[in-house]
Amino acid sequence: MSTAARPVLAIDTATSVACVVLAAADGAMLAADAWTAGHRHGEELLARIDALLARTAIARSALGGVAVGIGPGAFTGLRVGIATAKGLAAGLGVPIAGVGSGVVLAAAAVAAGAVPPDRPVAVILPAGPSERTLDVAGVAIRLPAGLEPDLPPGAVLVAVDLDGRAPADALARGAAARAALAVELARAGAARLRAGGDDLARLVPEYVTPPRGIAAPTGEVAWSRTRG
């Protein structure tokens, strides 16, 4: 079986609830698991993936690709998810695909019926203790503390991980989106893999703005190589 026809694994660790999904190559969800990871996504991620593979009797070597949420979202979670996805893809020799965590949450909010399908969705997530990130159709901006989001006309706000820091109706839509996340993550991940996926080396988190006034990362790394 070519990698294109094999089942795929999708991971999202951008929010406090981590999600892993197995999907058929066409994006249909086969099985999923989600758990409250807080800021400790790494501790359970592989064990949850292993349990999911066992439950579906899919060998890890049978996976045809790995998809991973690249944010915006929690820095620690994104690092864990992307490092794990890269290790799995590099180890298995299969393609990787990055999907926007905000885009998938927006699709999930619509799929859950929390947002009418004809309305733009603005997903708002925490970015550190006081700032937030606003993601509209994959374009994300950082909102400094105190600044209220300037929504596009007709947009519906979906808030995730912002209990006490966002309106109740937006938080309720966020909860609905989260409940439908696995199906949309499977669909988006498989679609991007079918389209060829992303460069395994270059895939990095979508952080919106580099922290602490750092300009866009420049400069190469310097290599040293020793051969036995």
Binding site: R79, K86, V204, P217
Partner: protein, 254 residues
């Protein structure tokens, strides 16, 4: 005697490293992607930038380590990874990457203390002297790096005893801070060494980092003295900053 083939991953600070080591000593390949240039504009490591760079370079580093080494996944006996100490965000990248590699190939994952890694580097075979025996035990070790400065004694396999260490900065941090003081580029150590080679005056003596009567070190007196010397020299006008730093490297290792 075969002690297996280990794939090792390191990401504790600002270098992404992957190595293949056979029989506990023989380096089949060792590849390091250093981010020094990336952190130069800020004069120090920004943890967030470091973590992102690890994510960016870890796969190319792995691929480079495999390239040319005449072995494959099926030959591995274990995956090792630096478990700490180090920058939390940077460590997470290597740890989760290594965990996934071990998982995929059903290999044991061995977490390694970064400082023990430094110690055991002395056990690696020198390709130019492959017949040289392993260091005998007990062995005294002095670790001087960007983040650590300490003395320990190794009495047996994985049996180390801490003798003493810095009570404030690590040697590398002291170099970086003095380098910044002198307007030298980051990292401070190599820049100060280069500047010291051109020193015209060699009569200035700085306090030693070693705390007499102990096995401990302190760099605060040295930094204060450097600060004072720089201020005096600037007041005395227009001298080359390289003149005043010739004593620092000597004081750390001399």
């Amino acid at each position: 005697m075969s002690r297996g083939l280990v794939l090792a991953v390191e990401s504790s600070c600002d270098e992404t490293g992957v190595a293949l080591v056979a029989d506990g000593r023989r380096v089949l390949s060792s590849v390091v992607a250093s981010q020094v240039a990336l952190h130069a504009p800020t004069g120090g490591i920004v943890p967030e930038v470091a973590a992102r760079a690890h994510l960016r370079w870890i796969v190319p580093t792995l691929e480079e380590a495999w390239a040319g080494a005449d072995v494959g996944w099926g030959d591995l006996d274990a995956v090792a990874v630096t478990s700490g100490p180090g920058l939390a965000g940077s460590l997470l990248v290597g740890i989760n990457f290594a965990k996934a590699l071990a998982y995929v190939h059903d290999l044991p994952l061995v977490g390694v203390n970064h400082l023990e890694g430094h110690l055991y580097a002395a056990w690696l075979e020198d390709p130019s002297a492959p017949d040289r025996p392993e260091p005998p035990l007990p062995a005294l070790a002095l670790i001087v790096s960007g983040g650590h400065t300490f003395l320990s004694v190794t009495r047996g396999s994985l049996r180390h005893e801490h003798l003493g260490g810095t009570v404030d900065d690590a040697a590398g941090e002291a170099f970086d801070k003095v380098g910044r003081l002198l307007g030298l580029p980051y990292p401070g150590g190599p820049a100060i060494s280069r500047a010291a080679e051109r020193a015209r005056r060699r009569d200035l003596r700085f306090p030693r980092a070693w705390l007499p009567g102990t096995d401990d070190f302190s760099f605060s007196g040295l930094k204060t003295a450097a600060l004072r010397a720089v201020a005096e020299a600037r007041a005395a006008a227009g001298m080359d900053p390289g003149d005043r730093e010739s004593a620092l490297p000597d004081d750390v290792v001399g």
